[in-house]
């Protein structure tokens, strides 16, 4: 039942936050933080009785007539991602304290609903429930961008919505096709993940259905041919929206690939792996090059996300233990470092009302704290050893090298290009001719958040073993289910 509470608490918190609209602006913030904090002990309680790779499971009937159950499961992988969601959720509430002053109740309602949907995505083990949660996290994010975003917010929000909704419907068709194929083979119409694993099907059918899943997840992950929504959405979203988008929502695409797209269709996925890895490598290099050419702080960070997530895609399709461990670390590290950079961009925007490098520069003297934190997270983003991103990228490249040395070699150039754009970011935003600006430096609230994120990323960089150990059983289980195709498979 803990898993149900894990979803219900942020949901109820969101409703309560909306109820506190109007005079009690801060009340909705406190309610949101309280709900997310309350979820942490619940998450800990859910891990008490592990069985196999699964820490906790829940299965309730939902629409039995159509073989749909309310089935949730928590394993090491989802545990880490839910933890990331909750922590970044709290961060998002804290850093929008002074930025969001209008319609705060509705803002926090949307934020909490989006987080609820994301948590449900990470827990769902029924494909219909997964799709339901996938859609639930979408609409509130649309509102966050469209209502509290920057100049071109409506355009960005609609583009974001169309990309994800269009690909989501494609995934729905693939889910239904999979359920029908399963019914044709076994006579049971079900959306249960474990039942659908190892469904025997012909090569071509498997490929097309897999492609439906892949496209939906690749759009969410902003893999290269489908990435164009990301810079717009991230740039125009309010800071909290950017943090949630980059930190958490993008990870649902990677999670979907890990949990569904590869294990459900092992042979098609293996056949498709070179293509997917090629897309990953292209994303690494192309994202970095585009980041290098941006004149907007947030756009630069957004394109760096494309590059970082290229490593994730590369690692997933390398599909060996090293690479998958790298993927998990990379996802967490990217969530933290990119989230921090978006927060700093938001802080700059709030103070100077611009994100354009032409109007920034020389800020170190006036804003020493903001600038030094910027340097720290830019360095983290470029993958300095000792910080989390390094571990992620290194493990991914190491794992990929065992499978496809060429991709690993080309991908490794990404770390060089990352250094270029990250240092360019620092140089153009903070260095240069010193300039006097009459704005306050980072306040205590932001510094606390920055310090927390910095501790997390250093911890991840120095002792990644606990994270790797947490994810190991579930990664092994995923690899095992992908390695044993169904009895009738060709």
């Amino acid at each position: 039942m803990m898993l149900l509470w894990l979803i219900l608490i942020p949901f109820l918190g969101g409703c309560l936050a909306w109820a506190f609209r109007g005079r009690h602006a801060d009340a909705s913030r406190w309610v949101s933080i309280a709900a997310l904090s309350l979820d942490l002990p619940v998450l800990a309680l859910a891990t008490r009785a592990p069985s196999g790779a699964w820490l906790d499971r829940l299965n309730l009937p939902w629409i039995p007539q159509l073989g749909i159950n309310f089935e949730l499961g928590l394993d090491g992988l989802s545990l880490l991602l839910v933890l990331l969601t909750l922590l970044l959720g709290i961060v998002a509430v804290i850093i929008s304290w002074s930025e969001i002053t209008e319609r705060t109740g509705f803002f926090h309602f949307n934020l909490m609903m989006s987080l609820t949907g994301t948590i449900a995505v990470f827990l769902a083990l029924d494909l219909f429930l997964f799709f339901f949660a996938w859609e639930v996290m979408l609409v509130p994010m649309y509102f966050l961008i469209a209502l509290w975003g920057h100049e071109r917010r409506i355009y960005a929000a609609i583009k974001f919505f169309h990309f994800t909704q269009g690909s989501g419907l494609l995934m729905l068709v693939a889910i239904l096709a999979l359920a029908f194929v399963h019914q044709a083979k076994t006579g049971v119409f079900t959306f249960d993940y474990f039942a659908l694993l190892g469904t025997p099907m012909s090569r071509a059918t498997e490929f097309w259905i897999m492609l439906g899943f892949f496209i939906a997840f690749a759009v969410k992950l902003a893999a290269v041919p489908f990435h164009s929504w990301l810079p717009d959405a991230h740039t125009e979203a309010p800071t909290a929206g950017s943090v949630i988008l980059a930190g958490v929502l993008l990870k649902t695409g990677a999670y979907g690939l890990l949990r569904f797209a590869v294990p459900l269709f092992p042979q098609a996925a293996m056949a498709f792996a070179p293509t997917a890895m090629l897309l990953g490598v292209i994303a690494i290099i192309y994202g970095a090059l585009l980041a290098f050419g941006q004149a907007d702080f947030k756009r630069l960070v957004a394109y760096s996300s494309v590059s970082h997530l290229g490593f994730v895609l590369l690692g997933i399709y390398a599909w060996n233990t090293l690479a998958l461990q790298g993927v998990v670390v990379q996802m967490l590290a990217h969530g933290i470092s990119t989230g921090a950079l978006f927060i700093l961009a938001g802080a700059l925007q709030e103070r100077l009302h611009t994100r354009n490098f032409a109007q920034l520069g020389g800020l170190w003297a006036s804003l020493p704290r903001l600038s030094s934190w910027g340097l720290f997270f830019a360095i983290a983003s470029l993958g300095l050893p000792g910080l989390g991103n390094f571990i992620g990228e290194f493990l991914v490249l190491l794992g990929t090298f065992q499978k496809h040395p060429v991709f690993a070699v080309v991908g490794a150039f990404g770390t060089v290009t990352a250094a270029a754009y990250a240092l360019l970011l620092v140089q153009r935003a903070f260095h240069g001719t010193p300039r006097k600006v009459e704005v306050p430096d980072l306040r205590a609230r932001h510094i606390a958040v920055m310090a927390g994120l910095a501790v997390a990323i250093i911890w991840l960089g120095i002792t990644p073993q606990p994270v790797v150990d947490t994810a190991a059983p579930s990664l092994a289980a995923l690899q095992a289910s992908a390695a044993t195709p169904g009895p009738g498979a060709k």
Partner: protein, 512 residues
């Protein structure tokens, strides 16, 4: 006469009582109450006769689970429209109001006749009763120019399409010598390839039905009439008349054995595909909410046609679910417009700009409207989401590749204008000059619809169980040989679905 006809008898007697009542005493509240009581009695009697099973009443009408399901939908919709209309009429302050209820009952009666009809005669009878009721209702606010214009337009177009229908029926009769759907199906079975008269007849028939359902390319009248008609009547046009005619089309198609005719299927697929695409695209260009929903309803009928094309038991259940969701949502949407409207010689609250900032002024109403728009867009947690998935499932089960592609593209386009309305409601705005006075009955109706929409969106199991039970109880079966259910096989990615034959066999559960 069997007791199964009880709902129909009540529905026939109520207009007579109301008419006599009006002659005796003009009283708005009394007339409305008696009408509502009649509708409720008819609704209650549905549950009384439900166990009686399938009954044929003369060669013209059939009362079975199918009829009763749609009758339930139509009577509840009519009742909801009545509740929405009461304060709307009151505020119009331009009586008499009483005949409105008479016309409302007449419309419901015509729709009910359509649902049960097994014969061209019954079909035409029901259709004309329905249309006559609607003409009067559309033009009811007689000091409103737009309403009169819309009424006249509807009169002419409905007359034209009826003559198409009649001519089509006559040509088919000329060829086959029967007007009964089932007999026609049997004759068609023995001599499927017929001469030019039959083809022309079917073409004219489909044209007529296409007009009534406002499918593309017969859709031109819909936006004008939706715009001109008073808001509650627009709900009636969008919901009651469309559901009744769709129900008739589905039954006719199944009894005829239309699934064996590739040309008929092609024509219907084509109409469905263009309706989904054009309906959604044209809605993008509108700034008037009623016109937007006119085009939206065109595309929604296109979605249900996908279920008709699939033609399996799943598809029938999907069509039931979809139309139920459609009815709840559309009445809800027009209910909100009704509540915001200031009736009189002007027009309803149908300009997009009227809705700017509504969320901050009347949060409950705007919140309800938002949920209804999400339902139309097929997003969770609403009935529209469940229904859309059900229809897509029916289509996937039969590999309707092109219609499904159109459905997905169409609904992706549709998101744009639904979200646009929501964003307008959410953006900040100066205070409105004179907010429309509150109407308790209408507000309660919208609240009930909202609860239904969300409740069945999150817990759809009871609804789906009921629908599946109804489908299982049906006795009319499509004339498709089992295994040949793959009616619209993909042309190109055929290799991809190499195992579709075996799939089609198991998914063809429609062999009662």
């Amino acid at each position: 006469m069997n007791s199964s006809t009880l709902p129909f008898l009540i529905l026939t007697i109520t207009p007579v009582i109301v008419m006599l009542l009006i002659a005796a005493k003009r009283d708005h509240r009394l007339t409305a109450s008696v009408t509502a009581a009649g509708l409720i009695a008819a609704l209650a009697s549905i549950f009384l006769v439900l166990p009686a099973g399938t009954i044929t009443v003369t060669p013209l009408f059939l009362i079975d689970g199918y009829t009763l399901f749609f009758l339930f939908l139509i009577l509840t919709s009519t009742l909801a429209v009545l509740l929405l209309s009461y304060h709307y009429l009151e505020r119009m302050q331009d009586g008499p109001y009483e005949e409105y209820y008479l016309l409302l009952l007449l419309t419901a009666l015509g729709a009910a006749a359509l649902l049960a009809s097994l014969h061209f005669a019954a079909f035409f009878l029901g259709l004309e009763t329905l249309s006559i009721g609607l003409i009067g209702l559309i033009a009811y606010p007689r000091r409103r120019e737009r309403a009169l214009e819309a009424g006249l337009k509807y009169l002419i177009l409905t007359g034209v399409s009826s003559s198409f229908l009649l001519f089509g029926m006559a040509l088919i009769y000329l060829d086959y010598g029967t007007m009964s759907f089932a007999a026609l199906g049997r004759l068609w079975d023995s001599s499927p390839a017929s001469d030019i008269y039959a083809y022309a007849g079917f073409a004219l028939l489909l044209t007529g039905i296409g007009f009534k359902l406002s499918l593309v390319p017969f859709h031109m009248w819909a936006p004008d009439i939706y715009e001109g008609a008073p808001a509650p009547v627009t709900a009636l046009v969008a919901v009651v008349s469309k559901i009744a005619i769709f129900a008739l089309l589905f039954r006719f198609f199944v009894l005829l054995g239309g699934y064996r005719s590739p040309s008929l299927l092609w024509v219907l697929s084509l109409v469905a595909i263009i309706s989904m695409l054009a309906g959604n695209l044209l809605a993008l260009l509108q700034d008037n909410l009623k016109r937007i929903f006119a085009y939206a309803s065109i595309s929604h009928v296109g979605y249900v046609l996908v279920a008709l094309l699939a033609g399996s038991a799943t598809a029938l259940a999907a069509a039931f679910t979809y139309l139920a969701a459609y009815a709840v949502t559309m009445i809800g949407v027009f209910g909100v417009i009704t509540l915001l409207s200031q009736p009189g010689p002007g027009h309803d609250a149908d300009q997009l700009e009227t809705y700017r900032g509504l969320m901050w002024e009347r949060p409950w109403l705007a919140g309800a409207f938002t949920v209804m728009l999400l339902s139309l867009a097929g997003l969770p947690p609403t009935m529209g989401f469940i229904a859309e998935i059900y229809v897509i499932a029916a289509g996937v089960g039969r590999h309707l590749v092109l219609p499904l592609a159109a459905l997905i593209i169409g609904s992706a386009i549709g998101l744009y204008y639904y979200l646009r309305i929501i964003v307008v409601m959410l953006s900040p705005a100066p205070r409105r000059v004179a907010p429309a006075p509150r109407a308790r009955l209408g507000g309660a109706t919208v609240a009930v619809l909202l609860v239904l929409l969300v409740w069945f969106g999150v817990f759809p199991a009871p609804m789906i169980a009921g629908v599946q039970q109804t489908v299982a109880s049906l006795s009319f079966a499509p004339r498709t040989a089992p295994g040949s259910g793959d009616i619209f096989a993909p042309q190109r990615p055929a290799k991809a679905f190499a195992d579709r034959e075996s799939k089609a066999r198991t998914s063809n559960m429609f062999n009662f």
